[in-house]
């Protein structure tokens, strides 16, 4: 059994953040937390968490109570999901998930589900079954913060991934290595930690997995019952013993720690040692994703200066975050329209680009996808995201929080703080100046459009 990490090592990388007079819990840190992992926050949520302090805010986030639970949300979301899954419209299924991200009381879980969607990147292009795609999505949500074995086993024993990775074609004496290879390269130990012979042997262990009447099934007639040797000397027989062996590998814990750090931490904001340390913690705790998430979020490293404003938001965080922070989610915009924007920005839900999922960070910022982001901002400010178009009423929002909406500088500073957690002087001046030149929008909406197309709005 691996040893739990020594407190000394933990102190080194994932020491908890503790607010002090010289290093206080600030608006910037509250906004950082929510933009990074929970689709941003409204002004009242920011104020609430500023008062409550770091630990209480993170506890609330982990408990799934970040946003107030609107009456009947679960029932409504589930009804929308049922209709979407039963329809032939992929747009409706995308809209269903976006609706959840916009209104769920548990945005962290939705954010992590999106991370797992990219990790277990399965595309309806090949699965061609919305009910199965939705079924897989519910598993990602259900086990988003569980021990990884629960998530991995649930996803592997579900028809969506079996269809996606040709499991049915993998039969005794006639192997198809697709599932075995991706299981090792992408879902567990990662490249460099297995050989081609391991892939072949693992493929034999996975023979017999099939989809029967739209459900996970096992066909013993196609299963290769002989012993298989994987990872040098381990003998496995079937899917369960193979998954258990892979879950037990140090390399799997390391890969998981990498995935979490890549998602939760910013560019150049952590060292290789921090990943190793997190991996050791995961090994000692049954690969508990919830524990690792909490450890990262509560850390000094997470709130450190060099981890602020250094993560490129993905298109969905970019859209949903702005809509939530600006309180444009009740009534919500048309999530069908949002789904089309997400596709233009390069993040077409349920259609990841390939088995490796979406390339994150700098890869989001191609010319065309940035033009789409700028155009989305324009359409938001013009109120074109709903079926019944009307420009957002920024005046009302500012007045709600007693901000002088007639003073463009004060308005801009407040909006920038709401959206980014800080308001750089040069940017505020530039935004006010540029907004004056707009003739199609009200002054406040012109300011909003400017803010949403600034480099600051891409980075969290």
């Amino acid at each position: 059994m691996p040893q739990p990490p020594t407190s000394q090592a933990r102190d080194r990388y994932w020491q908890p953040f503790e607010a002090s007079a010289s290093d206080p819990w600030t608006i910037e840190r509250v906004v950082h937390l929510h933009r990074r992992v929970g689709f941003a926050a409204t002004w009242s949520e920011i104020q609430r968490d500023l008062k409550a302090g770091c630990d209480a805010s993170i506890a609330r986030l982990l408990a799934g109570e970040m946003r107030p639970r609107t009456h009947g949300f679960d029932e409504l979301a589930s009804a929308i999901g049922d209709v979407a899954a039963g329809s032939a419209s992929t747009g409706r299924l995308k809209a269903w998930w976006l609706y959840r991200m916009l209104l769920s009381p548990d945005p962290l879980r939705e954010r992590l589900s999106l991370m797992w969607h990219s990790h277990f990147a399965t595309s309806n292009l090949k699965v061609k079954n919305l009910a199965l795609m939705r079924g897989q999505n519910e598993l990602l949500r259900q086990f988003a913060l569980s021990p990884y074995s629960n998530l991995l086993k649930a996803v592997i024993k579900h028809p969506a991934i079996l269809l996606w990775l040709d499991a049915d074609a993998n039969r005794k004496g006639n192997p198809n290595e697709n599932l075995a290879r991706e299981l090792m390269e992408l879902f567990t130990v990662g490249i460099g930690n297995y050989t081609e012979s391991d892939v072949k042997e693992a493929a034999r262990a996975l023979t017999g997995l099939s989809v029967v009447d739209g459900k996970y099934g096992f066909d013993v007639a196609h299963h290769d019952g002989g012993p298989k040797t994987v990872l040098s000397d381990a003998t496995v027989s079937d899917v369960d013993s193979l998954l258990d062996l892979l879950l037990d590998q140090k390399a799997t814990a390391h890969r998981l720690a990498s995935v979490l750090c890549e998602t939760l931490m910013g560019e150049s904001a952590y060292e290789a040692g921090a990943v190793r340390q997190l991996a050791e913690g995961l090994m000692a705790r049954d690969l508990d994703i919830g524990w690792a998430t909490e450890t990262v979020l509560k850390s000094r490293a997470f709130f450190a200066e060099k981890n602020l404003h250094c993560k490129v938001l993905n298109p969905i965080q970019f859209m949903i975050g702005a809509l939530h922070a600006l309180e444009l989610d009740s009534p919500p915009p048309s999530t069908l329209v949002l789904a089309r924007w997400a596709r233009r920005m390069g993040q077409d839900l349920f259609y990841p680009p390939n088995v490796g999922g979406w390339k994150e960070d700098r890869a989001w910022l191609g010319s065309r996808t940035l033009v789409a982001r700028a155009n989305f901002a324009t359409e938001l400010a013009r109120g074109q995201l709903s079926r019944d178009p009307h420009p957002p009423n920024c005046n009302q929002l500012l007045q709600r929080y007693e901000i002088d909406s007639h003073d463009p500088y004060e308005s801009t500073r407040w909006l920038a703080t709401l959206l980014w957690g800080h308001a750089p002087v040069a940017t505020v001046e530039s935004v006010v100046e540029h907004a004056r030149a707009s003739d199609r929008l009200s002054p406040l909406n012109a300011i909003l459009a400017e803010l949403l197309t600034r480099p600051e709005h891409i980075l969290a």
């Binding site: 596709r343 940035l370 540029h434 980075l459």
Partner: protein, 400 residues
Amino acid sequence: MHSRRRFLKTGSMVSLTSSVPATLARLASAAPKQKDERILVVIELGGGNDGINTVVPFGNDGYARSRINLRLAEKELHKLNNGVALHPNMRPAKELIDDGRLAIIQGVGYPQADRSHFRSMNIWHSGNPEIKEEVTYGWLGRALDQRKQNDRDRANSSGVFVGEQQTPPAMLGRESVVTALSRAEDLELLSQRVVDLQAAGAIASQSSLNQFVVQQFSDAYASAERVQSTAKRRSTNVDYPATKLASNLKLVSQLLHSGTESRVFYTIQDGYDTHFAQLLTHSRLLGEFSGAVKAFLDDLKRSELAQRVVVLAFSEFGRRVKENGTQGTDHGTSGPVFLAGEAVTAGLHGQTPDLCDLSDGDLKIHIDFRRIYATLLDEWLGLDATPLLLQSFEHLPLFA
């Protein structure tokens, strides 16, 4: 206060002064990357094109015998030789052949033709006639993967799909990425946007990531401006027909002219599944197809791009030789494949299908489609076709 602020439109960044950070000044002067790399544009003719009424073997006795209601009048055809002619509505294609820009490969298919749209399309998309399941990686996706592996520095080995449909499986790669575009507006800014270099400079000085974001914004706005100004400049003298396929190809042209790094493009013209009252529909489709390709190539002709672009058009199968009882045709086997561009060896390639020498009522297959893929991959895209197609295929003399 105003004097210290400079607002510059990305299109006019030449007016940069020394007050602007050096990194930003450099990016402002960066011209769009013009390379001599070759480009492939694929048009999928979805539904199964009736090759017999496209490249018409009017001189063959079997034509009049098997096509009663659907026979095209000889005097209206565009003759390519004594026995073969193009459909009456394909004048633009005939013009392309006459000035050396269109090759037609006849009798293309694969062994044991499958008459399911779905499976046959999967075979063409994967490049694998043995495929049983859904396509995991398509032939173009694998090609883009190889291109990426050949050059690890290439950040952007992506293909572009233009259309409303889902991305075609042909473009699925393991590492490469396909971006989908459906409207011209997706390339243009809805509202004038500029990167304020003064404000951006304040951020950019903080980290390389900030610099990168500012640079990408500048590039994006500059490329949108190029698309817009090219569109404005060119709209007067480039005449694209008012069809969906033409507007998709126009979008490809705009992308190419604005300096995109993508080298593989794909679009779909649907509607070729003509089981019923075929004549009118088929004529319209072929008119749209040849008109759009001609307009696209004429558009490119006015720039150095003409030498760098080849268009491939294929359909998942041809149709039966004998027409059916509802003035249409049912699913068949082989059909013609089109290859257009200044680089191609124009004219007819391969043996003209003999309508009197059939196999179970269907045309015999003379050329395996993978020979065309192999020729394109090796000779046009400069890749290694053998690992991509899992065996080597004899090339066709498609390029001079």
